[in-house]
């Protein structure tokens, strides 16, 4: 574009958000004298329909060819104003935003003079860059219709179900050898006759037989390249060592000499190195835990159907998908040894252990017995691992523990009406439908609620008896309760390999480690990375209903992408000057997205950027030793003009 720049500058008041601390009148006068500026207008809300009209009129009246909007952050309205440029007949990339709200009026509200001076500077910088902007063309490419779902818990299953019903192909990968996630290990779900694994079973019915869904258990994601609509995924499937010929006869389990703690019973029992995770598990096959297996081959010898094969190797699989749904779930908070007596006394259990014990399929057949004795006095301590109650606790509320605790307390009261039950809490948050009634019923059944501020002390006496001491907030007195059983209502925490996954998929996280949505309120199931969606507890604690909801929501969001034939990405990508690239290859190794390759054309080697893969991070541009790698929208000359405009008036 060689024509003389004719810049229109549109300054937004944002009500009083900007005008409250920036002297708009003075800014307008100042901007009028900047080079290439032809028109300057201000308006109360530039993003409103009349505001947009002002820009369109200006383009027409003054034949403008570059637009600067001085308003809020480009994350807010860059898209809006780019559309205005399109409607005005301009290329949308001839727009530059000067952020005089978040970067200026909001942070300098204490000084009108300083805020106004900074607005001068920010607009001067934007005008300098605008005069060097070039028209750019959006990059479009075909959308791959397949979807990868990471995580086979209820959220992942729910998302898989929706997508498959719509006819899209789903690859569902699960790190564990079994589908169902944490829900599968839960006992009876409140307000239903269903157990956790029944809920999972219902979802599985709609998933496992659907030919659109390919299930990979024992499988982890190891690499992602490409971008929205066109991801290339590499996953690695660990061997199960037991194939479909297995008919669950159990001979192998009988002979296996290895015993380890059973994570599906929260460590209440032991399991063998060859095992079925739980009754009704899918896939319905034994699995060998190869970390603990000693390769003694006893199971191979005894298997009547030759279903065991210890020679299986990990397998790497490549998948091409258009969208990725992360439903990697959570882990229950595991108290430290000694925290509230956990791991020190056999009379201290977590809520999940208690719930397993109350299950009819548990080792005690649903009988509540500690060391063979039925406890007469039970103390529940809530918020363990949550709400900052201990130094290593997380700051958030885990949302499901209040209802779950009360539900279990009621089950105990039903089976053992003579038991004294105390629930020590910071606060009761039974917010789900029907849960408040559970709370009221607990009161009616004489379950006692007491409120602590400082975390209670659990004293394990030399004779094994336990005293729980705390300061009761309501009666304002020190209280000591003698307990036969202490149950710790533990919360949720991010799964341990979440950092690995999010680094691969390029999704941000919040301070506690849960994944971060594109917008907390407006885009709760989308990641900031286009084409990546978030479902279930991977974004924070949820109950089962919420997790299933968010799975469906993520699927529906993914569908809005998948139904399109073409995806569009911003053309703000790196580009090589073919004529002058020396093929030094530095950029190839530096690119974090594998978007650059050295290609040979008629004996000439040059670097080539795949614009569909490039994310516009600029690492190659900064590292290019000869300066021939440039980035559209951020060329050296454009950035230099901004720096100079910032430093000199």
């Amino acid at each position: 574009m060689n024509e003389e720049p004719r810049i229109g500058v549109y300054i937004c008041h944002c009500g009083v958000n900007i005008a409250g601390s920036v002297n708009i009148k003075e800014v307008v006068e100042y901007v009028k004298n900047l080079p290439h500026v032809v028109e300057v207008r201000d308006y109360i809300f530039m993003c409103s329909a009349p505001g947009q009209e002002i820009i369109k009129e200006g383009v027409k009246k003054y034949n403008l060819n570059r637009i600067v909007v001085a308003a809020c952050s480009p994350t807010m309205h860059e898209h809006t104003f780019r559309n205005v440029l399109i409607e005005a007949g301009l290329n949308p990339y001839l727009l530059e935003i000067a952020n005089i709200r978040e970067h200026c009026s909001w942070v300098h509200s204490e000084s009108r003079e300083a805020a106004t001076w900074k607005a001068y500077t920010l607009i001067r910088v934007a005008v300098a860059k605008a005069s060097l902007l070039e028209p750019l063309k959006d990059i479009t490419f075909k959308v791959n219709k397949n979807v990868l779902i990471v995580g086979g818990g209820v959220a992942g299953l729910s998302a898989a179900r929706e997508l498959a019903l719509k006819g899209f192909k789903v690859y569902l990968i699960e790190r564990r050898p079994v589908l169902g996630g944490n829900t599968a290990r839960l006992g009876r779900i409140a307000h239903t006759e269903l157990k956790g694994k029944d809920v999972v079973g219902e979802l599985l019915k709609q998933v496992v037989d659907n030919p659109n869904i390919n299930i990979y258990v024992n499988t982890e994601i190891i690499d992602v390249s490409g971008s929205v609509g066109n991801f290339k995924i590499r996953v690695v499937r660990q061997p199960r060592h037991v194939n479909e010929k297995c008919n669950l006869c159990g001979e192998c389990v009988r002979v296996c000499p290895v015993e380890v703690s059973n994570e599906y019973e929260f460590g209440l029992t032991k399991r063998k190195a060859i095992y079925l995770p739980y009754l009704g598990a899918y896939p319905p096959l034994y699995v060998i835990d190869h970390e603990n297996c000693t390769r003694c081959l006893e199971c191979v010898k005894v298997c009547p159907r030759n279903a065991v094969n210890l020679a299986e190797k990990p397998e790497e699989i490549e998948l091409n998908v258009g969208a990725v749904i992360l439903a990697a779930g959570h882990e229950p908070y595991e108290p430290l040894i000694g925290e509230f007596g956990y791991g020190v006394s056999s009379r201290v259990l977590t809520l999940f252990q208690l719930e397993r014990m109350l299950d009819e399929e548990s080792p005690t057949k649903g009988e509540l017995k500690i060391n063979g004795i039925q406890p007469k006095s039970i103390v529940f301590i809530m918020c363990v691992g949550s709400l900052n109650i201990t130094p290593n606790a997380y700051p958030y509320c885990s949302r499901m523990c209040c209802s779950s605790t009360i539900k279990n307390a009621l089950v105990i009261k039903e089976r053992y009406p003579e038991t004294n039950i105390y629930i020590l809490h910071k606060d009761i948050r039974t917010y789900s439908r029907g849960d408040e009634q559970l709370y009221l019923r607990a009161g009616e059944r004489l379950i006692r609620f007491a409120r602590y501020r400082e975390a209670p002390n659990v004293l394990v006496n030399p004779d094994g008896s336990i005293d729980v001491r705390f300061f009761e907030e309501t009666i304002q007195e020190e209280v000591s309760i003698s307990a036969d059983l202490v149950v710790l209502s533990v919360g949720m925490k991010p799964p341990k390999d979440i950092d690995r996954i999010r680094t691969i998929v390029k999704v941000g996280c919040g301070p506690e480690g849960f994944l971060r949505e594109a917008h907390l309120k407006l885009r709760p199931v989308e990641a900031a990375t286009d084409g990546v969606y978030l479902a279930g507890t991977v974004t924070g604690p949820k109950n089962i209903v919420e997790a299933i909801d968010s799975g469906s929501a993520a699927a529906s969001k993914a569908l809005t992408l998948l139904v399109k034939e073409e995806a569009i990405v911003e053309p703000l990508v790196a580009v090589v000057d073919d004529e002058r690239c020396s093929a030094c290859s530095i950029c190839v190794g530096i690119c974090p997205y594998n978007a650059i390759r050295i290609k040979t054309y008629e004996d000439r080697r040059i670097a080539e950027v795949d614009p569909a893969v490039c994310k516009g991070c600029g690492a190659c541009v900064a590292s290019c030793p000869t300066g021939v790698m440039q980035q559209f929208g951020f060329k050296d000359a454009q950035l230099k003009s901004q720096v100079l405009a910032a430093l000199y008036k």
Partner: protein, 326 residues
């Protein structure tokens, strides 16, 4: 028709650039046939006075090598600028300061103290230093030029029309530059003459031996490794500056299994040669752990000497600012 007049002058230079001109071998005779040399202190007996007597603008081109370090250099280059149509910064020192430019890491006082008192080979019990004026006899006072506070590349002292890179420029580059100047078809002012517009990697015979990704696990100095002359030296951990250095030298050092030290300087788009060099070199160290990276990069004992060997005075850094110096 009168032959074009040419002047050649040296400032803070090792003399290599003068040798390079002589290295044109039989072509020097072609040059002499085509031009009149009016000033060449290293080879011909002209005096400053002879230049002063020439009309302003009468010299077609002055080739000046070496950085400007003495008051005398400053005086002569300003004179040559006045007398010449074109001034050509010939060689790395003149263009960006060169190896003598690394002295900008020290103050004038530090340099004098080291050279005249502290260097291990110096025997100077009376702590004598050269004086600007020395009375030899009653009537005779000898004068020496003064040392400037720091070495300056030529274009920080006078306007420079063209640059010829190299330490020294190779005969091939020198000849191409002369040909361009004599052709009358002059490139835009400020251009580099005689060399390539791509980096050395483009000319490098080892370019095709590079793996997909150039990443290194260790840094080696040339004497620490028996380099494989058939494999990209950078991938062998040597600090080869080929990627950031203008090509045109014919990859002479590479062909002798020595890494490029950068004497042909930066490409046109690069603002700061050393900065660019550090930027790409640091980013190919293949560790995620910061401590590992520090350990590997810590093996570059003299980063200024490696990355700014030829360009410190022309860089954004310029040198070390010594506040104590008056």
């Amino acid at each position: 028709m009168e032959k074009p007049k040419i002047a050649l002058y040296w400032c803070a230079s090792c003399g290599g650039c003068e040798e390079a001109v002589v290295d044109l071998a039989d072509k020097i005779l072609d040059v002499v046939n085509l031009v009149d040399i009016v000033f060449w202190p290293v080879a011909m007996d002209y005096k400053i006075q002879d230049v002063e007597n020439l009309p302003d603008g009468s010299i077609t081109a002055s080739f000046i090598n070496g950085g400007v370090r003495l008051t005398e250099h400053e005086h002569v280059v300003k004179l040559l600028r006045r007398k010449s149509k074109l001034v050509i910064a010939y060689g790395a020192c003149s263009a960006w300061g060169g190896v003598p430019g690394l002295a900008n890491l020290y103050s004038r006082e530090e340099i004098l103290r080291y050279v005249y008192h502290e260097a291990p080979t110096v025997e100077n019990p009376d702590k004598t230093r050269p004086q600007l004026k020395t009375k030899v006899e009653e009537e005779i006072t000898l004068e020496l030029p003064d040392l400037l506070p720091r070495l300056l590349p030529l274009d920080l002292v006078v306007d420079v029309d063209y640059y010829v890179p190299g330490c020294p420029p190779t005969p091939d580059v020198t000849w191409k530059a002369i040909e361009t100047l004599l052709s009358g078809n002059l490139p835009p002012r400020g251009s580099v003459l005689g060399a390539s517009d791509k980096s050395l990697c483009y000319d490098c015979p080892l370019n095709e031996t590079k793996p997909d990704k150039v990443l290194i696990k260790d840094v080696k100095r040339p004497h620490e490794v028996l380099a494989d002359p058939s494999k990209c030296l950078l991938t062998q951990g040597l600090t080869c500056l080929g990627p950031v250095t203008r090509g045109g030298c014919g990859a002479l050092c590479i062909k002798a299994a020595m890494p490029c030290t950068g004497c042909f300087g930066p490409l046109d788009e690069v603002i700061d040669y050393g900065g660019k060099a550090i930027s790409y070199f640091a980013s190919i160290v293949d560790y995620a752990d910061e401590e590992e990276i520090k350990k590997v990069l810590g093996k570059i004992l003299d980063p200024m000497g490696v990355f700014y060997r030829y360009s410190l005075p022309a860089s954004r850094l310029r040198g070390k600012i010594i506040l104590a110096e008056r």
